[in-house]
Structures are given as C-alpha cells and as structure tokens.
Symmetry: C2
Subunit: 696 residues, 2 copies
Amino acid sequence: MTSLRLAGFLAPRSIALVGCPSDLSRAGARPLLYLKKHGYPGQIYPVNPRHGEIGGLRAYPTLADLPDRPDTVWIGVPESDVLPVLEETARLKIPNAVIMTSGFGETDAAGAAHEARLRAVADAAGITVLGPNMLGFVNCWERVPLTFSSAGAVDRLIPGALGIASQSGALGGVVVNRAFDRLIGVSAMVSTGNEIGVTVSECLEYFADDDRTRAVALVAEGIRDGARFRAAAERLLRAGKPLVALKLGRSSAGQRNALTHTGALAGSSAAWRAVARQLGIVEVDTFEDLVEIGGFLSRESRVVRRGAAVVTTSGGASIMLADQFEAHGVGLPRLAPATVHTLGRMLPAYARTRDNPVDVTAGLSEALFGSVLETLVADPNLDAVVVAATSGGADRAQNIIRVAKAADKPVIACWLGGSVIEAGRALLDEHAVGCFRNPASAARALAAGRAVADARAEWTRRPQGSRRPAPPADPPATYAALASLARRAGVPLVAEALVSSPIEAARAARRLKFPVALKVVSPDLAHKTEAGALALGLDTAPAVERAATRLLRAARGRRVEGLLVQRMVQGVEVIVGVTRDPAFGPLLVVGAGGIEAELLGDTSCRPLPVTRREISAMLGEVRVLRRLTGYRGAPAADVPALIDAIAAVAKLAAMLGDRLTSLDVNPIIVGPRGRGAFAVDLLVSCEGPVVRGERT
Amino acid sequence: MTSLRLAGFLAPRSIALVGCPSDLSRAGARPLLYLKKHGYPGQIYPVNPRHGEIGGLRAYPTLADLPDRPDTVWIGVPESDVLPVLEETARLKIPNAVIMTSGFGETDAAGAAHEARLRAVADAAGITVLGPNMLGFVNCWERVPLTFSSAGAVDRLIPGALGIASQSGALGGVVVNRAFDRLIGVSAMVSTGNEIGVTVSECLEYFADDDRTRAVALVAEGIRDGARFRAAAERLLRAGKPLVALKLGRSSAGQRNALTHTGALAGSSAAWRAVARQLGIVEVDTFEDLVEIGGFLSRESRVVRRGAAVVTTSGGASIMLADQFEAHGVGLPRLAPATVHTLGRMLPAYARTRDNPVDVTAGLSEALFGSVLETLVADPNLDAVVVAATSGGADRAQNIIRVAKAADKPVIACWLGGSVIEAGRALLDEHAVGCFRNPASAARALAAGRAVADARAEWTRRPQGSRRPAPPADPPATYAALASLARRAGVPLVAEALVSSPIEAARAARRLKFPVALKVVSPDLAHKTEAGALALGLDTAPAVERAATRLLRAARGRRVEGLLVQRMVQGVEVIVGVTRDPAFGPLLVVGAGGIEAELLGDTSCRPLPVTRREISAMLGEVRVLRRLTGYRGAPAADVPALIDAIAAVAKLAAMLGDRLTSLDVNPIIVGPRGRGAFAVDLLVSCEGPVVRGERT
C-alpha cells in the first residue's frame, strides 16, 4: 500500500545530514538544530568531509563512512553536488532521500534536465524522494522535524489531528507555525517541492490512512497527478476527513510563477474548482482560514445543518455575523418559544433582541451571559451556538469553555476584539474550543462542515467502479458514425435525416414535418452560416428542394458527406461541452446558449464521470439557466429531459475515451416540460480525425 | 461651521458622569476609570445621589449641585431616568450630552417614541447629543477616553492620523484596540449609536477639517442622512483623506438587525456600493483590512500607479502575491534591464527568478537580501516594493525599515509567517512601515491608494455647483407633456408621432418611413402587449390604418390620449433607469436589455448627478454590454450617442426633481457607430400622477 511507504518515510530511525555546516549559526545547520531541539529520538549523522564533530555529534566525511545504513539522507548540498550524493545514496541502498536544494525543474531547461537525471537515479534504485526544492517535513507525533522551514523553529511541536501537505516548503512551515500559534495540533507536515517522488496526492493518501489525522490542510500551486489527486481526495472524503485547500496560482502571473517555481502545471482555475466542488474540498483564501477551519474540522465532526444561534453583547457584531452567515449559507433559525420565554425572564428590558441573533447588550453580567448561553444550547431548533465577542476577555472565555464542554452541539466563538480580550482567545485555544477571528471564517467553518458531509453522502451514493465501455477502435470519421455513436450513448439528436440529393431532402422533410433546417455536412465546412451551407425555416417541400440544390451548388469543390435535414425545434438553449484539463482530465461544462455564457463566464463545470444529481446541481449553478424553471411567466422547461441529455453527452465522452480532446453540443434546445430536449449540433475533436456536425 | 461643534464636543474641559457607581469594579465605572487611567486633563464630576466620593473624586448628588457648569454630561443611567437627566442638562444649559443607555429607537415603537422625546428636548435646548445606544468617544490627542468600550481599556492611547467613526460602540472600540495593537495612531474615535444628534456624516465632516486626521475608518450599519453623508465623503475626498469603510447590514438578516440595532435604514447594498464607487470610498470586509489599510493610507500618500515589485524568499509566497495583485488590479511591472543585470551578478545561480516577482530563494543571507531590496528600489519601472516574508524575523524587518526610510517610493511588507518571525512584524509596526498580514490586504491597500487618487482627480474635474433646472410646476400629466419634457432634456426619442385617427396614423407612418410600430397611449393600459394595444412591423400605409382601427376598437371604454406611431429601429438594447434610494436619493441604473440583466444582477449604478466619464465607466461595468464594443465580429455600437442619451435621461430625472420616484427607459436601442441611439420606451412615476409611455 502506497501510504505505508510514506508512513515509514516520515518516521526514520536514523538520518544522515549531508551538507550540514559545522558553524551552527549558518542556515544549513537548521535541520540538525531542529532535530536536536525537539528531541528527535533516532540517530543523527552529520556528513561533512572537513569536520569530525558537529554540534556535539560525530561527523562523517561521506555517506559511505557511516557506521550504519541510515533510513534517510537529507541533501542540502549545492546544486552541482546533488546528483553524486543521490547516486551514493542509491549505491548504499539507503531507502529515503530529502532533497532541499533548488535550481532544478523550477528554473530552466538545463535545470529540468538535471532534475530528470535525479529522477532516473531515484527510480532505478527505488529511493523514496521528497523534493527537490522544498524544505522537508515535520512528524510531530514521532518528533521528526526534518526541515529547514519555520516549522522547526517553533518552541515546541504540538502533536495533533491536522495533517499538512504543501508544495511550497516555506508556506508549509508558515502553516505549522500558525497552527501551533493557535495551539492546533499537527500530525505531520510534508512539503513536496518539485515532487520527483512524493507528491501532495501521496501525502493525502497517507493522511487518509493515518489514524492520528482527522483533517488535512493543503497548500498547492499545481497538481501534477490529477487522477491520483482525485482518488486521494476521494479516499479522504470516504474516511470522513475534511480537506481544506489554499490553492495558489489562480492568476495568470501566479500561474506563470507556479511554472517557474515548482514546474507544476497549474491547470485551469475552473478545473480545480470543479474538482474541489465534486470532492467536498473546502477552498480557502488565507492562512488564517486554512488554520482555523482546518483546525476546527480536525476536532469537530458534528454537522451544523439547520444553522446556529449568534449571541453577542454588540448589535454591530450581531449584524456582522448575520451578514456572513447569509453569505455562506449558514442558517440563523428562529429560537424556540420556550427559549424566547426564558430569555425574556432572564434579560433586562433594554436588551429586547430576543430572536436570533441574540444581542444581550453591553452591560450584561458575565453570570447572566453564561445563563443565556446555557439556554441557547438547550434550544432544539439550533445545531450550534456562536458567541461573537467584542469584550469580556477571560471571563467570557471561561463561560464559553464551560458551556461548550457540556454541550451536545458545537459552541464556538468569533473573537472580534483586540489585545484587550486576547487572554480569552488564548484560553479558548488552550481548551480547543473553536475560535475564529473573523465572522466570515466562522461562517465558512460551519458551512464547510456541512458541505463536506454532503459531498461524502453524495459520494457514497455514487455507483462504484468504472463502467466505461471500451472505446471504439477509432474515433468516428464521418458525421454518420458520430451520430450513430451519439444515439447509442442516448444523446437525443433532433429528428433528422442525412440524405444525398435535393429530392431525398424534400422527402425527408415531409416525413420530419415542417419547418426544417437544411445543412451541408462536409469536413471542409466548419462554419456553415458564413459558407452559405445552411438554410433555416424551410416550410414546404419545393422550398427544401430549391434550398438543397442551392447549397450543393455552393459546396461544389468540397468533400460533401451529405445533406442533413433537421426538424426545427424551439425552447431554451443550453450549451453542453466536454473539455480535457491537462491535470484533471475530461470536464463537463454546462452553460446558457447565446453569447452571454461566454461574456459572463456563467457556466458550471465538473470532472467526469458525473451523477444525475450532480448534473442537476450544475444547472442550478448557471445563473442565466434560472429561466429553465419558468422565469417571468414563461413555462417551465423539461429539465428531466435536459438532465438525461447531458448525462448522455457525458456517456458519449466516455465512449470516445482518452482520445477525446473536446466535445461540444451547442445547443441542446429544451422544450416545455414533457416536450423533451434535443441536441441540434455536435462537434467532436479527438486526437486524430476531427468530425464536425454543426447544425442549427 | 458644523465641524467646529464636534471639535469642541470632542475636547470638553469638564465632564459630569451621571450614573457612575461608587463600586469601581462595576461596569458603569469604566468611563471614570478610563478618563483617570489615560490622564484626562479636565475636570471630572461623578454624579451619584448616594455617595459623596467616588474613586477619590468628590461626587455630587445631582447635576444642579456641581460647582461649575460642565461642558459635557455622560448619561449612563437606566432607560427610564435618561429623559429627566437630559431635561436637567437642558435646564442647566450644559452644551453636550453623551447618552450610552440603550432601549430606545433600536427596540420597538415605545422605544422610538421615547427617543423622539429625547430628541425634542435636545433640539429645543441646542444640546449636541451623541447617542443614545453607543459607547462614547475617544479623543487621543487631548486624552479624552470618554467611553465604555474597549477603546478605553487599552494600555495607552496612541495619538495619530486615523480618524474612526462607528455607529456601533463596541465595534468602534474594537477598531481602536486593533489599531493600537498595530501601533497605528488614532486621532479620535466617535461611536454614534442611534444618532439623534451627531451622525457618522458629521464625524466625517469633522475629520475632513481636522488637520491631525489623514484618513478615516468607518463602521456603518445604515446611513440615515444620505445627502449629508455624500457631501461629507466628498469633503474628505477633496481634502485628500481616504475613507475606508466596513459596511454592515448587507444581508437581509443583517439589515433586519441593523433596523433593530440602531434603527437606521440600511438602504440597498447596490446604492451603498454606487456611492462608494463614486466617492472613492474604500470598501473592506474585515477589521484587519480596516485597520491595516486605513492605517497605511493615514501615513502614505504616494500613489502606486504602475505597480510594484514583489520580493520574497519563497516561491509559494511570490505566487500568493501575484494572484492577489492580479485580482486587485495592481501591476507587477517587468524589471528594468539594469535591475535584471544587477540581480544576476548579485544572486546565486539557483535563484534564477530575476523577473518580478523576485524569488531570491530560502538560503539567501540577510545582507544580500538588503542589497536586492536596494536594487529594486532604484528600478525606475517600479512605484513600490513589497517584501513577502515567511522567514527572517527581526533581521529582515531591520533591512526593510532601513531601505524604506531612505526610499523615494513605498516599501512595504506582507508578513506571512507566524510567531517565529513575529518580532519582525513588531519592529515594522514600531517604525510605521506598512505591514500586512495577508497578500490580499497588501494588494487592496495599493489598489485603494490609486482608486482614491483617481476618484479625487475625477471629482475635481466635475462641474461645481448644481445646475438643476427648477422642477416643472407639476409632473407631466400626459404622454405628450412627458415626451416634450424628455426632448427638452435631450433624450433621443425614436422618430414618432402622436396622432388621433387611423388616417393620421397612416400619414405619419409614411413620413416616418416603414416599418413602424403602433401603440395606444392610455393611462389605463400599462401593459400594451397583453392588452392588444400594440402592433409591430407594419410596413405599408393600409396595414397601419387597419392596425390603428383594430387597436382603437380594442381600447374602447378606456381613456385614450392618442395613437403613437414610431419608426422601428435595430441595435443593441440597453436599459436605463433612475430609482430613488431611501438613504441616498436618485440612482442611475444601466443594464443590458432582455432578461439577463435581471437574472444576473449585471447592472451598474451611480448616484445622480453623474458625469459623462462616469457613464462611460458604468457601461464598462456591465459585463453583457461588452458587446457594445463589437463582440464576435458584430459592428461596434454608437457608444458616444448612448452616453449622450444616458446623460439626457439623467437630466430628465433632474428636471423632474424630488417628486420623481422612478424613471425607466427600456430600452434605448443603440445602432452601429455613427447611427445613433434611440429611446423607445419611457415610463415615469412621480409622487402624484403616473405617466406611462410604453412603446416597443
């Protein structure tokens, strides 16, 4: 099992530090200092040809001189020396290497070539490699701070339930430092850099299997192994371990730098977002949220489904919380009548806000505040209680801690105040009571818990295993073959006939019923409207025949597969497509017809395969498609038929297999409820031949 | 001058504290304790009928017993006692009152009535009142912490250049506390509560005139005096003092609570946003941004127009910054060739990222980092340098401070790390070097400086004074009167004629040129299409005559003003409207025709009056209207004519004056460049008669 490799990797019994300076004030000595400072229980072997002793430990000239074969080699030597050291690692059959040195794939072509040589050596010898171009890892439970980053510079390691994976070594260190600052325990942090061996996906697999990890924080620039990443995220989801991600490289400049930084393909933001949505990955934008929300979810598994009460001594704070709850879809349920009654007897007359949010006003005694808290916790309408604090300090925190420990639902705090009430924040952290510095973070944390639970439930409902049919021997080379394949997939092509003469066209039109559209099918005619290869709204047989003659004449000199006669249908236009993301593979895209989808980016996206429920959710995410449900008196559209049609397009994409590069059905026309949805245009592009079946 | 009233109010030479308990551990004693703790230089008179001495000061039974008339009375008595105390304040001709007590307009109808009585007493006696339902104010320069909030509980007041106005007392205290935590000096914080006297708008006026204030932080739930607020924000803008605002009550629940909390009309979010955009108000979502960006702008007036260099030892950090710079429109200019050359000689080979962002990698010495900084500061392509720090601590900070002090452009820091490098953050704060905890905050701060400068330049270009024509004696009672008024305003009505018979209609159509549209103008027919009062695409005189006869027959029994014959025009449809926001008055709204504008909320909004440049900016904010510039091969539309038309609609709104409640021109049809823009439908609603001139 892959994760076992990392389990051993993160708990070496002995470590050789190659490139460790004897002057401990130099930066290169950090891994040694950190291992000693935090009481690494294994053997440390400094390797340095010029010194016999470093930091009180015996040093050895080369790896070959060590008294035992170490489990792991830390390589912190200059760029040009890395390959020889790795080769010696291979020769000595040392199983693990951590390569901090940068200057490889993240720089230029020469660096990439150099990196490829490292990879070849490691692969041939079966060495598990972390890096290059990262700052190591920290295993808090086994006390292995094998790192150059600030994660080792902390006062003490705090073992706990948050796993951290970061491509950036420095940012991984920042996350550990910030988690510890909030007394949030970490199981392990692994920084992966250029990932010639261990990737963040492998880290997620490890954390999914690691019993001490309950949630994972991820800092990623670009995912190199999209399929493995999705599988690993699914493994976490099935294990009930939330994955909170800070995804970098969303901007074009950021993506450019992601390329130079770790050489990872950043992939499109839309693809990442689609993957995150499908797999219940909690996306955050700041370290604060990564740490607070990741830490909270690593300790709290109770789901806040209906919403929470907000209680505060400040009306302004209650509005801040209400704003953010609404923005993040967290409910503020009405209080139960008994709660309102009890609060009415308890609170002074001037504190008249007895519904949710509960503003008890500034003058309330701490004892009374505690009673209010207890009353709210007992309310059966509420799934959680959130205290927004602008005052009160340690006393307020003690009250919250006491009630939270006894409560059968989450009681958390939003600590708005500054240093004046900082002692309270420290107490809450000490007692591991969820505490957020911003209303938005608290709201996101509650919403995240629910979203992860929903994604998990959705995922367990999915059919297991792949039922993808074997791809056809060749991508369809003609429109007829494509249409036949689409029909087999269940794509509801509009009633149509492919014919070869004007007379046949007229006959087909009579059968299909008027009015019809007529178009020339030709691999040479991509844009039929401009090429005069299209006639619309033909409503008599002679008109069809005349138009067919004209179209064929205009297409003279081109390869013509035939004339396509299609019944004309009316309804809401929906665009459905499949594109291939370089990192995550085929993505289903749904948008509204017309130019708005493009102008507004108003589309929804999911990695394939998708369930019908997901397709339904996607339609809800496209704002312009709200008209499907009958906007402004227009009749509701046949959404079930549309979902069937989209599912069939997804199936067609699966049938076309890995050679598919893009598939567009533009548009599907959706009639009123009960009247169906019809695909009116197909455009498929595979590696190899391209088949266009544009129709209007 | 109004602001002088507040200048005196914030610097009282003596204060009577009514409701001050003798037990100093009780909350009510806070104002007394804070005044003493921070060395308030004036006279303090505790007023308490049961004690002769409180906290070492002589106490007096009533206000009437004081040896001198105090400048200010603090009223912290129970709700039922507030009115008598205020009446005594009036009797004694004490000029100022600060009413902390809650239970008034923020509660219920009885509370509102009670509040109205307070206001009547204060107004009659000319008392300047702060409150009720707030926590006082802090004047840092004159050491007057007359507050119940955490702003008084800080270790020391730090006088400075940031003014703070907050409707919420608790949140005002939080902002002061958090500003001081970052060593950001504050000129004054005023919390205004229910605002029966002093409003946040008056505070802004004061800060605009106060020489010690350089920027203002605002926390507002709802603006009560929209016109005064806009004038005050303009005064700040003209004075070159940025206004940074945390606007609460954006959600429906938040707005509901804003109503109960301070009784302010929250107004629509769209209106607030439009006002903010017009007046260069910097909107933020968190206290961190309010304090960091407000503090930064209170000290830094140099505008970063072309962009900044980012320099960091972490590739991941460089990507975070690049992402946020792009998201907030802050440039990352290429480095000058000389800079690249110098960096190339300076940096080790493995640190190959020599363009912007500059990633010098983790191992670099602090001395070398300082040289990199100096090199970047000298680059003529850059307006600022931003250091993103994940390591380095105090040494890094010293380097930044040294370079920043000598630089002719802003050198700021984004301090990403945790406690391990916290000492550096503290040093930066101590030396007032801009320091942000999040990349987004740093990017927003730079963008805000530029946006404020742009808004100020825009505002100084505006014509001064109001040129609003006197409103017509009465709103137009007929379509003919409305159309005449619209033409006087310059609204380009499509070629049309109002006639009274089918024969006249046919004659008019011949003159206007075919095809034409025909409609019945009647105050009884709001929706002509449904009522069969509309005929389109008529292209011969007999067709017009027949249609006119049919329409008149269908309208029998209704009041008919006439038949409107309009030439039919084609082009891009734009909706223009004017609505009246309860807080901010008339707002111009521009959107795309069709149902997308409504489904997507894809509109742009500005308070009237607007300039042509603003109208042009508005068109750029409507995403669907990108098609105006010629999308996908369509010809570019006549944008100058559209801008003229919108300006004319705004002028028509001004001519209709304060009685206008709504004005819709739906649509204006914009032809290709040089072909004009035509208003095809007018709908005006005033207090009083409603005139509909719907046309299609």
